[in-house]
Structures are given as structure tokens and as C-alpha cells.
Symmetry: C2
Subunit: 309 residues, 2 copies
């Protein structure tokens, strides 16, 4: 194996795709239409990008995620772009929040994982798991989202936040006494959805109700979801979709999956995406855009399935 080839400060298009999250198709069509990025070519004609371009791509990507359109952005100079990013940064400050929230955000912003862990776990202890997940966590998430949108938060800080929160929730759920009452619930996400926090939150709401939860983590192929549902004799399948999941594809995938599951099994679809799709009913799929909807559905399920014997 020869790993010695090219200049270590240059990236191939595949590396840029992984690094920035922009597909090869997009990178090429931007180059064609807007003249940027403008990679040099290897001797065999393949695109080779330097670090400056990657950095600029990152800036552009972030601005697009905040709602700007590519057309506008590509006509700007580097300075204007930078200025725009700065302007945005001051837009949505953390407003009048209750003190505990401000504190937690401060820990996130100051990169203090110990402090963050401490603060989160204190809040959890005060409120109890279910309350914490139903009320506090969504507010925290929103706040993190705001700070992110305002450009105050680096990706690593967002990662740190969700890592510590996951850790805390898992621990709390793990320490719950095992009840294993019906319904048996299977939790996972479809391929393409790699955000697993939603699953943990649902589990944090249901487990205290004594529900038998079974999580497969993220990105389980449909075929395997079907197998698991049958194999585990599951009553309810919970799927979570973040806001980043394209609603069209979500609905298409749910239809497809619904078709292949036994009718007996309920499907609950939750997460931010479902706020956009709730107006489009799918027969046999329940939208649970809010966490509390899961509790409503749970009560309903138990009403219809009284414990016999």
C-alpha cells in the first residue's frame, strides 16, 4: 500500500463531501454555475481542493443552514461573507431565560464539560426523569438551536452538549427499576436519520410508565426493522425524525414501512420533522410531534388493551 502520494493539505472531492456534508453533485454544480469552489486539478484531471476553499465552504454551508440562498452568497466577497456571519451572530441572543437554563448554556459556551454534567444532573435530580425530559430538555434543545443559529456555538460545543445529555439520560434510564409492562415498544430511526437523542427522550418518557422499551439505536434498514418487530413481538414501533430529515422522504419511507408491518403493530412517528408532516395523515401511523403525545398514545393503547388475568 502506498499512502505517500499527495500533498497533505489538499483534499479530493470525496474528502470534501465527508468533511462539509455537501454532496459531490452539489460541489460540481456550484463550480459550474457560480465558479466556486474552484479546485485545481490533479494530473489525471480530478478535482483537488485546498484548505481555504474548505473553510469558505463551511461558512457558506452554515449561512445556507440559517436560511440564506446560495445565489446571494456566491456574489459576496470574503469580507462581506465574514461580515454577514458576524451580523447573524448578534441576532438572536439568549433572551430572558430562567436562571438554570442560562447557567447550563454558560457551561456549554465555556466548553466546561464537568460543569455542564453537574448542572444537568442537578436539574434532573430536582425534577425527576419524566418531567425533565418533557419540559426541560426541549427548552434546552431550543436554546442550543438558537445559539447555533446565531453562530455563537461551534459544532464541537453542540456535540458536547448532546453527548453529555445522552449520557445523563442513559444513566437515568438505566437506573430505573425494570417493570416490563406492556406495550412492548421498539425504538429506532430510519437510514439517513443519525440523530438519536429523540429516541432517548421518548424512552425517558415511557420507561417511567413501566413500558418495556427496546432501542436499536439509529439508522436501522427497513428490512431489519420489520424483522425486529416480528422477532421481538413488539406492540409499538417508535420512529424519530429530526428537523433535518426531508419531509417528503420521511413520508414516503413511512408509507413503505407501514405496508410491510403487521397491522396489529402501531407506528408512532415523532421528532421535529413531524411538525411539518402532521397535516398529511398516513393510515396506521400516528404523528407524535410533541413528546407528551406519546403519553396520550400510551394511555390510549392501554385503554384498548386491558391486562387480562
Amino acid at each position: 500500500m502506498d499512502f505517500l502520494n499527495h500533498n497533505p493539505n489538499m483534499l479530493t472531492i470525496a474528502q470534501v463531501e465527508r468533511e462539509t456534508g455537501l454532496s459531490k453533485d452539489v460541489l460540481r454544480v456550484w463550480e459550474r454555475r457560480y465558479g466556486f469552489p474552484a479546485p485545481i486539478r490533479s494530473e489525471s484531471g480530478e478535482r483537488v481542493y485546498d484548505l481555504e476553499q474548505i473553510e469558505r465552504l463551511h461558512v457558506i454551508k452554515r449561512l445556507i443552514d440559517r436560511g440564506f440562498r446560495p445565489g446571494k452568497l456566491f456574489s459576496l466577497t470574503a469580507e462581506e461573507l465574514q461580515a454577514l456571519a458576524q451580523t447573524q451572530a448578534t441576532a438572536k441572543e439568549g433572551q430572558d431565560l430562567p436562571l438554570p437554563f442560562r447557567l447550563i448554556m454558560d457551561e456549554v459556551l465555556s466548553d466546561d464539560n464537568r460543569g455542564l454534567r453537574q448542572a444537568l444532573s442537578q436539574l434532573l435530580a430536582k425534577q425527576g426523569l419524566q418531567q425533565f425530559v418533557l419540559d426541560t430538555v426541549p427548552q434546552l434543545n431550543e436554546q442550543v438551536g438558537n445559539l447555533w443559529a446565531a453562530g455563537k456555538l461551534g459544532v464541537h460545543q453542540e456535540h458536547l452538549y448532546s453527548e453529555e445529555l445522552s449520557r445523563l439520560l442513559r444513566t437515568a434510564i438505566g437506573n430505573l427499576p425494570t417493570m416490563g409492562r406492556r406495550p412492548r415498544v421498539l425504538l429506532t430511526t430510519l437510514p439517513g436519520e443519525e440523530h438519536g437523542l429523540g429516541l432517548l427522550m421518548v424512552e425517558g418518557v415511557l420507561a417511567p410508565e413501566g413500558v418495556h422499551c427496546l432501542s436499536l439505536g439509529v439508522q436501522t434498514p427497513m428490512e431489519d426493522i420489520v424483522r425486529a418487530v416480528v422477532g421481538h413481538v413488539v406492540d409499538v414501533l417508535v420512529l424519530s425524525f429530526s428537523a433535518a430529515f426531508p419531509p417528503r422522504q420521511g413520508v414516503a419511507a413511512l408509507r413503505l414501512l407501514r405496508n410491510r408491518l403487521p397491522g396489529r403493530v402501531e407506528v408512532w412517528a415523532g421528532g421535529s420533522m413531524t411538525r411539518a408532516t402532521r397535516a398529511h395523515p398516513i393510515s396506521g401511523v400516528h404523528w407524535t410531534p410533541e413528546l407528551s403525545d406519546c403519553l396520550v398514545r400510551l394511555a390510549d393503547w392501554r385503554d384498548r388493551h386491558p391486562v387480562s388475568g
Copy 2:
């Protein structure tokens, strides 16, 4: 929004890519070369795949993952393919394993998450966290890998195993007393590496040594790794690479990253991939293919940085 269009049993090429993990390019070039898959076309000429083809693609993908070459597989009929999958299934049985391992594998195979959780946590309690991670977990992983290669294990069972193991490790790590001695270690994976178990294992080895660990979860873009390393004043950066990570790209990415980090910061690269790359030294990067290598490096680091005052 109109979600009502196409037949819910047909998939677009993008859906097939997500579902099977085969890139669009591969799907198209297979069709061109081997005549399979053979999707019908929408009225606008786009590929539309039916469920049968997806299923066959899944089978083929699995066989390729087990070392078969596409060329061979595409000349087989459906029956031969099925037969091959079956044959493989009996190849690598679980051999003479110590009893506790057999037990755990049985729990995995019987889809019993409660039992699995129980068995794992019992083993952990007996051995202690560090020992458990150093000895037992790698053996379990290997065994799961064997069963997978033998076709005995569904994806959902593999997911279940790693989910329960992660849960257990997180809980155990979370219950450790906080020491926060040097070095300060940052753990994450590069974009493209979505397997996070390795990070947990490293943490499970280092945390009992009193190391100040800080995990960012998976797939942190390089730019943000650099920021986090600087922002958190980290001494050591730990990166994990699963066997699925292409060695070439791993080495290229490490070179790139190393160039952008302060020289003071050590980089430890571990995980199965590094067994293939260890022969290719990168200055400033330490290969730690075995977990115990992390302990060696830790001792070395502490030797060179005696606590002053």
C-alpha cells in the same frame, strides 16, 4: 406539499442508496455492467426500484461484505445466491467458548434484551470496568463479528448488542468518581466514521486511571476538532477508526489533521483500521490498534509530564 405521488412500494435511487448503503454510482454502474439491478423508469426517465430488487441487493451486499466479489455473484441465479448465503451460515460456528460468552451470545441470538443487559452487567460487575473493557469486550465483539459473518445475526441484533453494551459502559463510566487528573483527553471520530463504541471503550480504559476524558461523539469535522482541542486545552486527541474505514483515507485525513494541530498535542489513533495502517508511521501520530496500547501511551505521557507542585 404533495406527498401523494408515487406507489408506496417503489423506491427512487436516493432511497435505495440510503437503504442499502450502495452509492448511486455503484447502483448505476452495476446496472450498466451486469444488468442488475434492473429498475423500471418513471415517465421522466428516472430509475424506480421495487422491493424484490432491494431484497436481492441486500443479499448481495452481505455476501460482498463477507469477501465475495461482485463478478461472481451477479452470474448466479436467485436460488444459487440463496444457497450460498445458507452455506456461509454454517461456516463459522461459535466454537469452544468459555461459558459466559456463549451465554451472552445466546441472549443476543434470542433477541432478549433484558437477559442480555443482565448478563453483561453481571460480567462487568465481576471483572471491574477496566478489565471488562480490555479483555471481555473485544472478545465479545469478535464473536459478534463471527456470527455476523456466518449470517447468523441480523442487523437488528447487532444494533441491539451495541446499544446495550454502550448503555452499560456509559453507565459504568458515569458512576466513576471524577478525578480529572492530567492528561486531558479529547475523544471523537472523523466524518465518515459513525461507529462510537471504540470511543467508549477507550474511555472505559482511561477513566479508571483518573484521566480527564471529554467525548464529542462521532463525526466531528476537522475544523471543529481543531477548535475543540485548542478551546479545551487538550493534551491528547484520541481518534477511533472501525475496520470499515478505508485505510487510505484514514491516513490522508490523519496527515491533514496532524498538520493543523499544535505540536504539543498528542494524537492516538486506534480501532481495527489501524491494524492495517500501523506499518505506515505518521510523524506525531501514535497507532494504538490494541486498547492496551492506550495504557502504554498513557504511562509514557505521564512519565514525560510529571505533576509539578
